[in-house]
Every structure is written in C-alpha cells, then in structure tokens.
C-alpha cells in the first residue's frame, strides 16, 4: 500500500511569492495534519483537517491556509513568503482524530525562501 505522498519534494521561492504544497493521505485515512519543521527543531503543528473540515489550527499567521478535498487529499497554501518560512513541511494522515489513531508522516516538502 502506498504511504503518504507529498509534492513537490523541493521548492525554491523568493520573498513575497505564494506557494501551494500538496498531500495525498493513505487510502482510507480521513484526517490530514500539516506541520512545519525548521532545521534543528521539532515539527510544529499548523493545521488538522478531518472529513474536509478544519479541526484545529496552530499558532501560525493567516498567511497560512489549507483545505481538504472530497478525496481527502489536502493542500497547504502560504502567501507573502518570508525568509523564516524556509522549512520542511510535513503532512501526516490518520484514520480519525483520536489519540489512538496513529499519524503516518510523508517525506515532506522542503521549501527554501530566498
């Protein structure tokens, strides 16, 4: 079975641009979460979606937005990019949103903002 897939794998943007990252969950998983991992740090929670509805949001500015589609795939959008947005963006999928539902992570998209 395919795991969580993310695209693109790498991305280079300049300050002020906008970027869209994509995530396809494991088949049958209805929840997708997004995390930002800055070099040398642990992942920071950005969003969680379940059944196409936002279930949670971390402490990120409104420049960050996301959505989940009927097939449960998801997009993370970041507007007006800043140098500090350079990071590895991880997507994780799970069956549901409970603590007993293991989150499975994708390989990530590495975003570099110049």
């Amino acid at each position: 079975d395919a795991g969580v897939t993310q695209s693109p794998t790498h991305l280079i943007k300049t300050r002020g641009q906008q970027v869209t990252l994509r995530c396809s969950p494991i088949s049958g998983h209805k929840s997708v979460s997004w995390y930002q991992q800055v070099l040398g740090q642990g992942p920071q929670f950005i969003f969680q979606y379940y059944e196409k509805e936002e279930r949670g949001r971390g402490n990120f500015p409104d420049r960050f937005s996301a959505r989940q589609f009927p097939n449960y795939s998801s997009e993370l959008n970041v507007n007006a990019l800043l140098l500090g947005d350079s990071a590895l963006y991880l997507c994780a999928s799970s069956l549901g949103v409970g603590g007993a539902d293991t989150q499975y992570f994708g390989p990530g998209t590495r975003l570099t903002v110049l």
Binding site: G40, G42, G58, T102, G108
Partner: protein, 113 residues
Amino acid sequence: AQSVTQLDSQVPVFEEAPVELRCNYSSSVSVYLFWYVQYPNQGLQLLLKYLSGSTLVKGINGFEAEFNKSQTSFHLRKPSVHISDTAEYFCAALTSGTYKYIFGTGTRLKVLA
C-alpha cells in the same frame, strides 16, 4: 501550557551499547505519548506510543519506553544499538481530547563503530 522537553540534543554511543533518550512532558491532564524516528531526508516514523494501561511500551526495532506519571517522563531505551539506529528521535505528546501534537526539539542519536 503543554510542553515536551528532550534533555539531550545529541547522544553518541558505541555500537552494541545500551542507550536511553530522555523525554519529559508537562501537562495537568491525561496525555498520550509518542516516540518518532526521523532518518535523513525522510519523514517521521512511529516507534511506539503510550495511550493507557501498562507503563512499559514496546515498539519497533527493539525500542521500548516507560511512562512514569510521577516524574512526568517517557524515556526511550534500547539494550543494544546498531549503526542503522543513527537518526533523529522525537518525543511527542497529545493532550487527551485535543488535536494538537506537541513535539520536543529532538535528540540526535549517533552510533559509533
């Protein structure tokens, strides 16, 4: 506020030696606790998780962790490490009834030949 502290940023250890990676959490309510491993240029892989019940949790690749409520700790152990265990290890907590995972800053385990 909930937080996760990994006390060691780097842990060097010789091959076949035992290792313990330390993790402490702060929460006034019930939490679920997790250990993830991240190999270079890859996503995170779940090693083990504590939800309830037995405080000793066994995971994949020979790892185990013990939940200690009085010390608010969830240390990860392996009796004999291999070169292939070299990676970054993250402890994470999820407060019961919430959706937000809190990760520690990670511990880089380097296994030496």
